[in-house]
Point group: C2
Chain length 207, copies 2
Amino acid sequence: MKNLQFDLKKAFFNKRLGIAEHRQFLILEMALELIQKKGFEQLQFGELAKKCKISRSLVHHYFKDKLELANSLLDLSTLHLQNYVQTSLAKEKDSRLHFQIYCKATLDWAAEHPIEATGLLLFIYLSSHNLEMRRRNDQLSALGRQKIKLLLTQAGFTARIDSNAHIIQTVLTGCYLILLSENHSIKESLQLRSDCLKTCLAVAVSK
Amino acid sequence: MKNLQFDLKKAFFNKRLGIAEHRQFLILEMALELIQKKGFEQLQFGELAKKCKISRSLVHHYFKDKLELANSLLDLSTLHLQNYVQTSLAKEKDSRLHFQIYCKATLDWAAEHPIEATGLLLFIYLSSHNLEMRRRNDQLSALGRQKIKLLLTQAGFTARIDSNAHIIQTVLTGCYLILLSENHSIKESLQLRSDCLKTCLAVAVSK
């Protein structure tokens, strides 16, 4: 876990890590924890500063307002997910199996990392009314479909590839949302993920 | 449209409509409009009162705080969706076709009534961190699955009915979310809905 955190920090800032970077990362992690407990609506820079044991003005120094913070939270959550998926893919050399692994890892991530996943849920919600977020959502969503299309091609599925990639993304999004917004036992969560994975595979082969 | 509004109001309050009920309904409609434009986070009772041309204290008289308002918005959105779906189902006498109509109507509702649908999206988001909302979400979600199971049975699909109902609900939720949080042309929206509907039908027959 420590290593993943360190790699994430490096990838997030894309430069040598100084005290400023460690602090910003701490603020983002604490913000995600607060949001998962109370929601973005209730998040206040004062409480966030207290949780980080730094001054409120220092939080404001790094993040002008809540929307800027939300944008960085999205970066962190996206990077966390990508890191998780890439780690899963790296273990399998046969690229024909990468589509399946990608789908499974995406769903497992939401179940195993609810705090980081809450950043993506916040983003989807904000995209419903904030135009800047919506633009980013459109871009990220298009990138996601590109990735799914590539993996489908590698797996040998080429029929109806645009439509199928879009449906697969829809199934993953729906499952992800349900995992984060409803109570499930571990058994129910595993069952739902397994069923959704099977559905993605069935969609992949449909013509 | 006027009739639907009137029926909704009657169903919402479940009693004779006086000035108080008309006012509360107006407040909820205006709140949904504001939320769709700026988000729940930015919604303020002062602005809402101004939009309704009533006093701020009157808004507070009907809705103690934003969470109480959110609960009523959920009631209104749910009722609006149910009304839309029931109207579609009532046009078809053959109950074997009701499953398909239900899925189509649910997706069309999200595309055609984004303002009312935003109430459900807010609810899903709030359910990720608010325990009271999450309990309501669990209940509503279970009711939704019951309904899907009933429609599947009427359509003659009985294999793997619990799992399949859950997957179908997941596909509908995912499509709904994507329709509300991304920009689509009308053509793209129709294509996605049609593809998701086909996927629901494919899941229904899967064993």
